[in-house]
């Protein structure tokens, strides 16, 4: 599904964020990327959803090299990826329903389809009864679930979660993690960046450990640890 072939990323000011990364993630996998802050986790994720381009090497998505996608078609690529972040990125003036609907609206989906799909997806993330609440009326965990619903609305092949539990209490974190596992069970590939030791260990899935832009450890059924 996702392949990194000798990928390096050097930001301006010659800062080496990633160095010679080789990595393959298969369809349906659940992969956690762990490492200290500044290790390059977010950079790996950004390369996948084409927010950044590699300085060296190539990134493949569904067999296709991303550098072959024209700027015009990047948006279509992004629709096959759902993204979730630490800061939720919800629009404060829109209700839970409207926040999710927005993702469809801006992609030209009709009103009828929106009215059909959005309540369904909110039901799946467990917010069936809170559709008309504004973000400030929802708890952090609930806000993150709205963000999850928005990420899922295009029925993506891959969910990318960049420290989704970073702002949440342990209980909510666990709920979000369980939701990610459920989505994965339903067939969606999940790539999670986190330094939340507890939830990574509970998942008992593949763990890739990054340190200073290099992969130092890649284990099936791994634990969060220092290799």
């Amino acid at each position: 599904m996702i392949k990194f072939d000798k990928v390096s990323k050097i930001y301006k000011d010659d800062y080496i964020a990633l160095e010679n990364i080789n990595l393959e993630i298969k369809a349906g996998e659940f992969v956690s990327i762990v490492g200290t802050s500044g290790a390059g986790k977010s950079t790996i994720l950004k390369l996948i959803y084409a927010e950044e381009a590699p300085t060296d090497g190539r990134v493949f998505f569904a067999e296709k090299p991303l550098d072959s996608i024209s700027r015009r078609h990047i948006s279509r690529h992004r629709r096959s990826i759902g993204t979730v972040f630490q800061d939720f990125k919800l629009l404060n003036k829109k209700t839970a329903f409207e926040n999710v609907a927005y993702a469809l609206e801006v992609c030209g989906v009709s009103r009828e389809e929106i009215l059909e799909d959005v309540p369904q997806i909110l039901e799946i993330v467990g917010l069936g009864d809170r559709q008309n609440k504004f973000p400030h009326e929802l708890s952090g965990g609930e806000q993150q679930r709205v963000a999850m619903a928005r990420a899922l609305i295009h029925k993506p092949l891959v969910i990318i979660a960049d420290e989704p539990t970073g702002n949440l209490d342990p209980v909510s974190s666990l709920e979000i993690m369980q939701l990610l596992l459920k989505i994965n069970k339903l067939g969606t590939t999940v790539v999670l960046a986190s330094h939340d030791r507890d939830i990574i260990n509970k998942a008992a899935k593949r763990v890739i450990t990054l340190e200073k832009g290099r992969i130092i450890c890649d284990e099936e059924k791994g634990k969060y640890k220092i290799c």
Binding site: Y49, R71, S75, Y102, A103, E105
Partner: protein
């Protein structure tokens, strides 16, 4: 497709209203630009029509000696009509000349009375020559000097407005230049102010833009509301400018009619309404689009 256009126009419309006083500034400066431009256009139209009137008034009258027969005058008329520079030659008989003279002197009974006393028609027959172009009257003068009938001519009267025409022509081109300069300056100012306004819109909508990119909205979809915002500034400004123009023409009608009695600027405006409005909409929308485009290119990272 329609959905996209509908949603993005609505976005642009909302941006326009939510920007408050910034929108007002953007519209005002665009208004200044369009108003200057169309006023200039109207002034030039007026001046052109005055000029055309004056050019029609330029002519040369050739008076023939009283002894010359009508036949010779008609022959001279034919000769003159052969020159390509000459547009028309009118033959005014003595009798006709007397009629015109009487009509012109209707308010001066003394003159009419003395005419009665003379008892016979003291006036001469003449030809009125109009050239195609006011610059060609020198030529016509040459022809007359060398004409076969030059000995039949009593005298030649040049009703020559050439100096005044030249001066007016010069003024018109001056007005054009200054007006274009001022309109150009205002265009640049509107460009700057509108792109700055759109930049601020982009800034206040940065979160929406980020979300749109993440959920895979197309670049066009993300950009269109900002483009429409720019176009709306142009459209609103051109509508207000049309109103302003009409009102100011009405208010100044008294003054302009005294200044230029031959041209009614209000009806000139009304008969050119479509052209002026169309021109303003085009220029307004164009400036709006270009300004938004600048702002988007510079500040909207997609």
């Amino acid at each position: 497709m329609f959905l996209t256009i509908g949603r993005t126009i609505k976005g642009g419309w909302n941006n326009f209203f939510r920007n408050g006083y910034l929108s007002i500034a953007a519209v005002s400066v665009m208004l200044l630009c369009l108003f200057t431009m169309s006023s200039l256009y109207l002034i030039v139209l007026t001046a052109d029509s005055v000029l055309a009137g004056m050019q029609g008034n330029v002519n040369v009258s050739v008076y023939f000696k009283a002894s010359v027969s009508e036949e010779s005058i008609l022959k001279a008329k034919k000769d003159l009509e052969n020159y390509s520079e000459i547009k028309t030659v009118d033959y005014i008989t003595k009798e006709k000349a007397l009629e015109i003279f009487k009509k012109n002197s209707a308010s001066k009974p003394v003159i009419l009375q003395s005419l009665e006393e003379i008892g016979e028609n003291p006036l001469l027959s003449y030809l009125v020559i109009q050239a195609n172009d006011p610059n060609q009257y020198d030529m016509v003068g040459e022809y007359l000097k060398n004409a076969s009938f030059k000995d039949d001519i009593s005298w030649v009267n040049y009703r020559d407005n050439k100096d005044r025409i030249d001066r007016l022509n010069k003024t018109i081109s001056e007005v054009r230049k200054i007006g274009l300069g001022v309109a150009g300056l205002f265009s640049i100012i509107s460009l700057l102010i509108i792109s700055n306004t759109v930049r601020i819109t982009i800034y206040t909508h940065r979160k929406e833009v980020e979300v749109m990119r993440l959920v895979g909205a197309s670049n066009t979809y993300i950009r269109l509301p900002f483009i429409f915002e720019g176009i709306i500034y142009g459209l609103v400004a051109s509508i207000i400018s049309m109103l302003f123009l009409y009102v100011s023409l009405r208010l100044s009608a008294q003054f302009t009619l005294r200044l230029v009695p031959t041209v009614d600027m209000v009806s000139l405006y009304l008969s050119n309404f479509a052209v002026i409005f169309g021109m303003q909409i085009l220029v307004g929308a164009f400036l709006g689009t270009v300004s938004s485009w600048f702002a988007i290119r510079k500040y909207l990272k997609i």
